[in-house]
Each structure stands twice: as C-alpha cells, then as structure tokens.
Amino acid sequence: MRLIGTAASGIRAQQLAIDTIGNNMANVNTPGFKANQMDFAETLSTEVRSGKTKTAGTTGVDTLGIGSGVAYNASGTNFQQGTLAPSDRPLDLGIDGVGFFQVKTPDGTTGYTRVGSFQVDGSGQLTDMHGSAVQPSISVPSGATDLAVSKNGEISGVVAGVKTIFGQISLVGFKNPEGLEKNGDNLYLSTVNSGAPQVGQPGSTLGNQVLGTIRGQSLEQSNVDLATSMTDLMQVQRAYQMNARLVSDGDQMWGIANTMRR
C-alpha cells in the first residue's frame, strides 16, 4: 500500500515546515533576521500504466502515474527590508537597501551580517556584539565624543574639540544572497552558490545592484510577520493532521484486508 508511505512523507514535510515557522517566530524580535520559507516538491511518481504513442490505427494513451509523496525542495530566505527602528546608540547602524556588513570573527572567518549593533571595544576597535571586528577595521580613539555615521558610511566624531573622520564602513553585495549559509549569531557565510562577495561603499553601484545606505542610530528589525506566521502555523498544523489521518486510514484499510479471511 502506497498510502502510508505517501502520508508519512507528508508528515515529515509538514514537520519541517513547522520547524521553519517555529524558528521564524523564535526570531520575531531578533534584529536583522530574515524569515525563512520551506518549499516542497512532488516526489517521483510510480507508473501504474505506461503511455502509448498515437499510431495510425490506435489512439495514444497517457502515462498513468501515482505520486509517492512530497519532498522538501528548498528553503528560501526572504531578504525583504526590515523596519529600521530608531535607537539611541550612535553605533547602531541600519542598512537601508541591499548589502551586508562585513566582520571578521575571532577564528578568522569572514562573516556577513545585517545587524549593525556595533561597539567600540576596550582597544578602540569597532566590533559587532560578539566581538567580531568590522572589516576593513575602524578604530575610534578613546575620549571621542559625538559619534556619528553618515549615509555613505563615514564614521566621525569629535576628538579634543576637532571633528575627525575615523573610517569608512563598507558594505558587501552578493549576486545571490539567498545562496548564503546561515551560521548563527546573525552571521551569514558565503557559499559556492552565493557568488563572490563584492565590496563597495554604501550607496555605490555594484554590477546590477545598488548597495543600500547607512542609517545611524537605528537597528533593522526582524522581517518576520506574525500574522503570516500564525496563519501558516494553522495551515501546517491542519495539513499535518490530515496526513496523520491518512496514515491511520491506511492502517485501517490494511486491518480490513487482514481480517477478510478468518
């Protein structure tokens, strides 16, 4: 009986969908978070009758196949812009448009992030909240006041009464941002399918895309929409239930077949 296997594949797929929705909702208040989405695809069909080509004497017959369930196909990331919520830290930077900040993690890996919650560490270097240094590195001297970031990413402040520019924030664009790998701590890593990172100044044009601009004193909110997530949750729950019902119905049919001969 194909039914049980088919329904089981449905249960597995819906479980994965609920895992994705659960993760989205866990990150509903994670800054810079981009919602994920599961896409499903049909699995192979079993041919119960093969097709025939139309000849002079006979009509053609279509192939008759029965599908064997569902497989997960891809997990997409929705890179839609999140709301830039104002904050009162001068080093909270939001990207208005496409692009990522580039940081170097303590183990030397280059990561990309949408979360511009930066700080100046004890040695004066600009780092992200996990201590990963912003690339190219920017150093802010001790005692600098009135830190400000311009639209094109220039970080400036006042040192001993003189306005000074400390450095320039660069943004990184990818041909296929959905191809990036998620690595936790709000970081993305480049993959073979994301395309090579292209570094540019905020607001500049890279190939066919225009990098976003920087908004100081603001932090990009998660783009998870609770209304969508909640309705998706209901839908997936019911689909899961339906597949579970199919398994028990299949079981019941099998039971009937087993008791036909007493």
Partner: protein, 274 residues
C-alpha cells in the same frame, strides 16, 4: 523530538530575559545616574539539510537548505546616553555633562566609577557617596577630596571641577581640589556592580583620569561638571512600555508554537490506536 519545540523554548527564554531587563529599567526610572540596558537577540545555528551547489555552464547552482534552531541572546548593551539634569540646590551634588565618570574609592586602593553625583560630606570633611561611604577622588587619582571642616566659610565648584574655598580666617579664596572625571575607550563595557557603581572590565579599556592635577590634563572638550544638580535616569518610559509590549507578544507567539508542536506530537501518538 521536534526542532520547532526547542526553537520556541529558546524564544521564550530570550523574551523572558528581555522582560527582566525592561523590568529592571523601569525599576530604575528614578535612580540618579542610572543608564538603561537593552537586549538584542541573535540567530542560533542553522542545521544544513542540503549544502549549496556550484553553478556550471549547463546547470544552475542551488542554494543551501537550512533550518534555523531558534534565537539566542546577542547582547545586553548599556545605553550610555546623557540623562537630563535635575537641579537640587545642594552644593555637594554634581553631575557630568558629557561622557565620563566620577572616580571613587572604598578603601584607598580600589577604583569604582559612577555617574551618580549625589555626594555629601562626612564628619572628616571628605566628599563621599552617602549610601556606601566611598570617597570621591581628586584628579591626581590618589587623594580623596577633602573640604576640611571649620576652615572655610564657603566653597564653590566650577564647571572644570575645581573646588575653591573661602578661608574663614582670612576671607581669601583657596583651591581645595579638583573633582576627577575618568573616561574609557568603551564605556558600555564597564561592569555594573550595584549602588550605581561600575568597575573596569576586560573590554572597557583602562580609565583615563581628567582634571587639573591629572596627567591627561583638564576635562576633555564636551565634558563639564554641573554643581547643585544630579543626573536623572536615562530610562524613557514610553520606550520601555513599547518594548514590554514587543516582549509580551513575542513571548506569546513562541508559546503558541509550543502548543501547536505539542498537538502535532499528540497527533503522532494517536496514529497507533491499539
């Protein structure tokens, strides 16, 4: 078991901590020199179901397929913005306009830092924090500020931190000391230790004392001392209440994921009836 269950638990825990921080901010809405904190979340690791493949001339590449495993705490930042001044009329009250901290000591050798300048004089004439008895340090970073009793008819503190007394015997103005203001490379990296005090941490950088007698010289530009006033808490109730709504709704959404995950597991258990 299901990933969604644990994603949602991580979400619940984080929102709980967000709520804890908001609660502490609101509790300190009227604490002088208090600096509010803010929680940010970060994504947890993602489980890779299928890696990315390279595009070739004949076929397109595929994106990685990943399921995230929830959220974790990103940071709890101290927001070191200026609080507004509250005029008190008490001559030993002071506040710092601009970045920097008062330096105090509890035993002569340790150093603690505070934005709260509600000071008073003790019986020996030392300028102290009345709650803990910690002494306010001079710009030389060695001696406490001492306004000897029965010596001066009056004293005043100017915006550079210089304390000048009028000798009661002669009526001549005499310098008494200079209030130290210490700055740090990363103020938000200081460790908060109760009593409105902070201590140096690995990530704050060392303290740089400022004042007339300090090696770094007088206060940096943009920093002045205001006497007869204290700095109010920088907690903004409207921000805290909106954050509270956000935390509550985020918590609620995550608890809903748990109940749905539970009902799915129940569904599985019900598959086998006898």
């Amino acid at each position: 078991m299901m990933r969604s269950l644990y994603s949602a638990i991580s979400g619940l825990k984080n929102h709980q901590i967000k709520m804890d921080v908001i609660g502490n901010n609101i509790a300190n809405v009227n604490t002088t020199g208090y600096k509010r904190s803010r929680v940010t979340f970060a994504t947890m690791l993602s489980q890779t179901l299928k890696g990315a493949s390279t595009p070739t001339a004949a076929t397109g590449g595929t994106n990685p397929m990943q399921v995230g495993l929830g959220a974790s705490l990103g940071s709890i930042d101290q927001i070191m913005t200026q609080g507004s001044a509250q005029s008190t009329g008490n001559p030993t009250d002071m506040m710092i306009q601009g970045p920097g901290f008062f330096a105090l000591t509890t035993n002569g050798t340790d150093r603690i830092y505070s934005r709260s300048g509600a000071f008073s004089l003790d019986a020996l004439g030392n300028l102290v924090d009345p709650a803990s008895g910690a002494q306010v340090l001079d710009a030389d970073d060695a001696t406490p500020i001492n306004i000897a009793p029965n010596t001066y008819s009056s004293y005043s503190i100017d915006k550079t931190g210089a304390i000048t007394g009028i000798l009661s015997a002669t009526g001549l103005p005499t310098p008494i000391g200079n209030v130290q203001i210490a700055t740090f490379a990363n103020e938000a990296g200081l460790t908060s230790m109760g009593g409105s005090f902070y201590t140096v941490s690995n990530n704050s950088g060392p303290a740089t004392p400022y004042g007339v007698a300090a090696t770094a010289g007088t206060y940096p530009s943009g920093t002045t001392l205001v006497s007869s006033a204290v700095e109010m808490s920088n907690v903004d109730l409207s921000t805290e209440f909106t954050d509270m709504i956000v935390a509550q709704r985020g918590f609620q959404a995550n608890s809903r994921v748990i109940t749905v995950s539970d009902s799915l597991l129940q569904e599985l258990i019900d598959l086998k009836r006898n």
